[in-house]
Structures are given as C-alpha cells and as structure tokens.
Amino acid sequence: MAETDRAPLDIEVRRLGRVRYDRAVELQEALIARRRDGVIPDQLLFLEHPHVITMGSGAKVEHVLADAATRERMGVALVRSGRGGDVTYHGPGQLIGYPILDLKPDRQDLHQYLRDLEEVLLRVVSGYGVEGRRTEGRTGVWTEEGKVAAIGIRVSSGWITSHGFALNVAPDLSFFRAIVPCGLADQRVTSLEHLLGRAVSIDNVMDRTSVAFGDVFGRTVRAASESIPPEFVR
C-alpha cells in the first residue's frame, strides 16, 4: 500500500492540557471548519476542563441540583452545550476526549460511532483491570461501582463529529452531587482512581486511549504536526 493512501487515514492527537469549556467549543468549531475544508486530517483532542456543569440538548433544568449561590461557592460554571445528552459535570482529573472526525464516507452511522467510542473506553479501563460494560439504552461506560465514562456528541454539516467523551480518571467525585448525571437519578458515578484504589496518571490514560482509539477505528494515531494557536489554550 502506497504511503499516500495511508496519510489521510492518520488521526492527529493533541494534548491541550486544561482548557475552559467555551474556548474548547470555539476551538472545536475552528477545527470542524478546517476539517470540512480538508485542510487538516481527523483530530483527537485530549484535555481537561476547569469545573463546569454542561447542559446538553436533552438537558432538564431540574437535573442541575446546585443553585446559583452554591455553584458560585463551589466555583462551578454552568453552560449550555451543543452536544447530545443531559446534564453532566466536567472538572480536573477527568480526561476529556473530543474527536473531530469526518465520518464520510464509510462511518455514517451515529449509533455505531457511539458504540465505537464505548469500545475505546472499555478497552482503556480493561487495560487497568477494570471490568467495564455497556448498559442497553444508556450510552457510556459502566462498572460495578457506577458510571466511569460519559459520552455526548455532535455532528455538524457534512458528518463531522465534535464533543465526545469524559473518562473519570481521578476527579473530585463530590462535584457530581451538584447534578443528576445524565438525568439518571439511580446511578452512581465513579472514577478509575476510586475503582483501583490507587493514583492513576492521566498521561498514561491518554497513551492507552490513543492506542485503543487507533485500534478501534482502524487508524494510525500520531502526534499533531502543527500546534494549536495559543489563544485557544489558556
């Protein structure tokens, strides 16, 4: 197989560190446009968000439990998000993965895409000896101790994905008490650190997620060749 055939199949990985939610949205919009124009290959963004509660398109206001004063005291922002799904919390210690993929021409099945993201995360947690599983009708990755990863995506004109997944590596789980995660009142939220009873390096999780992502999507994952304009990453 010629080199030229392989090149567009690469996925560029970018490790962005801690990024404010609104900036991450802007960055994704910019990358979607560049991906649509074919200027860049598919992207996989790794980042963490400062404390924030996001409301997806299906969000119910009553699933945000903390009132404005409480949120202020906790230092948690509240934003509406263009992803699918209900209410969720993001914060330090949670690995956020935003794949910007063009699903055309052969992956135009959004449920399959959700299942593929789950598969990536299942492989990652399995690598740590954690038995994850799917729950019918409840997108995400679940364990005996509760939900360890959440998924919510968006597809923009031309089948380009954004938003993605949040894997609880070692977040402060008490912040989840501010919400009803994904609108599921009966479900607990857990983290890799909590499940394993030891510290887990988020860099190591990123390494494993890159590998699993490449394997599940059948693509070569490599570090991005060009860096992101600094105004996006603060």
Binding site: S57, R83, G84, D106, Q108, L110, Y113, D207, D215
Partner: protein
C-alpha cells in the same frame, strides 16, 4: 418555483427517528447549500442538518420538540429564491398530514392492519394518496424495486409504508414466487383489484437484527450443574478475556485451515553453524525467529493476510506486526513484534526472547500486546504435530507451526536425479485464514511462498 423537500436524514442503521431540537432558520430566510438549517437530536447525539440546496426556507413542517420518523419531510425549500412563503397545494397536503398524524395516533393500528380504504381519501389522486402513505426514501426504494406501494401494508406512523414494509413485501413476494406456481405473475401496471394484502412478516424480518445483536453481544458462557466432588473457581481476568476473545473470533470469521509440510534441513544447518556467531551478539535464534522473519517478508506480498474485514470494508494494514503466542502456563498471551518486516533475523530473535521473558514475568505493557496484524502460534514446541488455531479478532490469518521432527522422506538426488530415501527435519504448518477476505488459492500461494523461503533461507537474513 422549484420546491424541494428536506427529509429527516438517515443518521444510522438503528436510528429510526429524530427530534427537531432547534430551527436555525426561519421561514423566509435565504439559505446556502450545506448551510445548517436545523438541529436534531437522538439519544446522545446532536446533529446539524444542512440545506440540500441553496434557496429559501418556505415552510417548516415539523416544529421544535417534535419527534418524527427518518424520512419524514421536515421542511420545504424554494430553490429559485421566492422570498415569500407560498405553500403549494401539494405542500399543504404534506403539512396537514403531519398535523393529522399527531392528532390521531389511535388510528395507527387499524390503518396499518387493514387495506387502506379509498373512500377515506376521496378527492386525492392515486399519486397523492401514495405520497401521503410514504416518504421520499421509501418511494425511491419502491421505484428501484418495482414495487407498487398501493399493495404494501403500512406499519409506520399513521399507516405509512416504511422501508421495512417494502423489504417485508419483497421478501413475502419472493417466498410466494418460490412456493407457488411459477406461472403466477404479478402485473405491476394493473394491480390486482383484490390484493392479497401480504401480512408483514415481522418475526422473520426482525430475526436478522436479533441474530446480529446476539452475535456481537457480550459472550455468555452457558452454566452447568456442579457435582459433589467438583471444585469451582472463578475465571481470572486473563482467562475471561481469552475466553471472550476466542468465542467472538471464532464466531465472526469463517475459519478455513490449509496445511503444508516444510523441510527445515537448511534452517537447522544455518542455526547450528551460526550459533556461536549469534551468541557473541547476544542472540539466541530459535526456529520461531526464522519463521517470523520469513512470514513477515511473505506477508508484504499477500496483503489480504495482513488485513481485517471491517464492516463492508477491508482494512489493509500498513505495518507488519506479528503476534507470537506465548504460553504462560496457565494462560496465553500474544505479544507483538512491531514492524517485523523491517527487522533482521537477529533483531527478531532478540525481540522474541525479550517479549517472551517479560510475558512470563507479567511485565508487558498494554501497547506490546496490541496492534498485531498477523499471529503465529507454536503448538509444535511441545511435540504436537499441528494445530487448527483460531484467528485473532481484527486480523485475517494465523500460522500454526507443528513439531520439527526427523522424518523419512523420498528425495531426488540432485546429481544423479535418482529417487532416494533420506532423513530430514520437517514440520507441518497450518494456516488459519478468514475466508471472508482470503481465498483458498491465496492461502495456497502464501504457504508455497513461505515454504520456498524457509527451505532456501538466505544467508544474509
């Protein structure tokens, strides 16, 4: 004025409906081709729906918050740019249909079960009536298959004919043709005045998807009663993952195995004569190293064996990463020699020793057991003649190497050309391959080439 329909798009095989979450454009707004005009949401997915053509949004047929089936018309565009909304009669019919559907969900059952009565829709032409009962997607499909939609019982929203109904109809027609007199012909132009109202074969139609989910579903190992003297142990993680992988791998790929006998006389000779030289470079070159070296070269010539079936695609792997099955006793792990085709014989030998040692010490990183593109297993090391290995999931081939043993064989004297009996070191190799993407002849050519390379092994590998 060219009026075009904007249907709820097909966003995935199992996605049957979507909710209009937000209109990004208002009636009367001009839109560019591919400009997002609305957002829909299903489950955990939000999607922007682009305008199929440039024009003016002249009608919104589905309001925010409403959930409609895939294929339902959600809006109309005027592609010639008349700014004022001027719904045509035709359009009113469609819009009214949606409203009526919402108002009368109770009518669904009766309408879908019984033959549509013409009296209900008096004043409408046949074409208009059919249009009301189907979506553009379904109409196109019916056209392609030459199906008269009037004959198809609709089970969709308000008795609409869905894609599945057309498929069921085609299926039932096929069965009828097969079972009944072949002379019984349907005329598409003049529908039977008393159509036999084919009952949609729901069970039959749903069987494949149920089968599919069972097929790829979590592996359920059946349970058995425990007897008095028995001991029950929970599978450890490696065992459980191995079990699951094996079941899935065997289920998914249609396995075929081919065999070839390979003469190791030359390899044996090379091994012995170079042993000290290699030892001085810190390498212990096993038979397996020779096999990995040869296989990784031959795989370059046979891309279908360094590939995997993926949906309706074949992924030809850009790297040759050879997995080597290592016995952990108990257990099994398959560390991967990456880019084996770029390594020398000694390089491969060192990699094997290193990976096997660390595998036994349980010190392999996850990256070292992933990304294999072809696997080799060596049942012969314990004396087994040959095996029928299972092809690891996500690859298309596995080589099983049998015991290398001295055998009495008939050979031809290279000088005199006379037949003679000789004692040779030989081994039987088995190649397991995924018959979806590897043909029998491919496997035969692969094995023949491998035999050639091993029996005439180069000095400078």
């Amino acid at each position: 004025m060219a009026r075009i329909e904007v249907p709820m798009p097909q966003m995935g095989e199992s996605i049957v409906e979507g909710t209009v979450s937000k209109w990004l454009k208002n009636v009367g707004d001009a839109v560019e081709r591919d400009e997002p005009i609305l957002e829909i949401s299903t489950d955990k997915v939000d999607a922007e729906i682009p305008a199929p053509q440039a024009g003016t949004l002249v009608e919104i047929a589905v309001e925010e918050g409403e959930t409609v089936e895939v294929g339902t018309i959600v809006a109309f565009l005027d592609t010639e740019g008349g700014a004022a909304p001027e719904p045509s009669r035709d359009g009113e019919g469609e819009a009214a249909e949606v409203a009526e559907d919402e108002a009368a969900p109770a009518a669904e059952e009766t309408r879908s079960e019984s033959k549509p009565s013409d009296d209900d829709e008096e004043g409408l032409s046949e074409e208009e009536r059919l249009k009301q009962r189907s979506t553009p997607v379904v109409r196109r499909m019916a056209e392609e298959h030459g199906v008269d939609l009037a004959l198809v019982a609709g089970t969709g929203h308000a008795g609409r004919v869905t894609k599945q109904d057309v498929l069921d109809y085609l299926e039932s027609e096929k069965e009828e043709v097969a079972q009944e007199e072949p002379a019984r012909e349907r005329s598409e132009a003049t529908p039977d005045p008393q159509p036999p109202a084919p009952q949609p074969k729901r069970a039959a139609a749903h069987a494949p998807s149920e089968l599919w989910s069972t097929f790829y579903g979590e592996v359920q190992n059946p349970e058995f009663p425990v007897r008095d003297a028995d001991e029950v142990k929970t599978m450890d993680k490696v065992r459980r993952l191995t079990a699951e992988h094996m079941v899935l791998a065997k289920r998914v790929a249609p396995h075929v195995h081919s065999f070839i006998e390979i003469d190791f006389t030359r390899v044996d000779h090379l091994r012995r004569s170079n042993k000290e030289k290699w030892a001085s470079r810190g390498a212990r070159v096993s038979f397996t190293a020779f096999v990995v070296w040869a296989v990784s070269r031959v795989l370059r010539e046979f891309p279908m064996l360094n590939a995997t079936a993926s949906g309706n695609n074949i992924i030809y792997r850009g790297n040759v990463n050879v997995g080597i099955a290592v016995d952990l006793d108990p257990g099994l792990i398959v560390p991967v020699i990456r880019d084996a085709d770029h390594l020398s014989l000694v390089g491969i030998a060192k990699a094997i020793v290193d990976l096997a040692e660390r595998a036994r010490e349980r010190k392999l990183g996850p990256a070292e057991i992933q990304g294999g593109t072809f696997a080799i297993t060596n049942p012969g090391v314990l004396g087994t003649m040959v095996g029928l290995p299972i092809i690891p999931k996500g690859t298309s081939g596995i080589l099983g190497t049998g015991a290398i043993e001295k055998r009495v064989v008939a050979v031809e004297d290279p000088v005199t050309g006379q037949d003679a009996i000789a004692i040779r070191k030989r081994s039987i190799f088995s190649l397991g391959y995924d018959h979806r993407i590897v043909d029998g002849a491919d496997s035969a050519r692969f094995l023949a080439r491998l035999k050639e390379l091993l029996e005439d092994f180069p000095d400078d590998a």
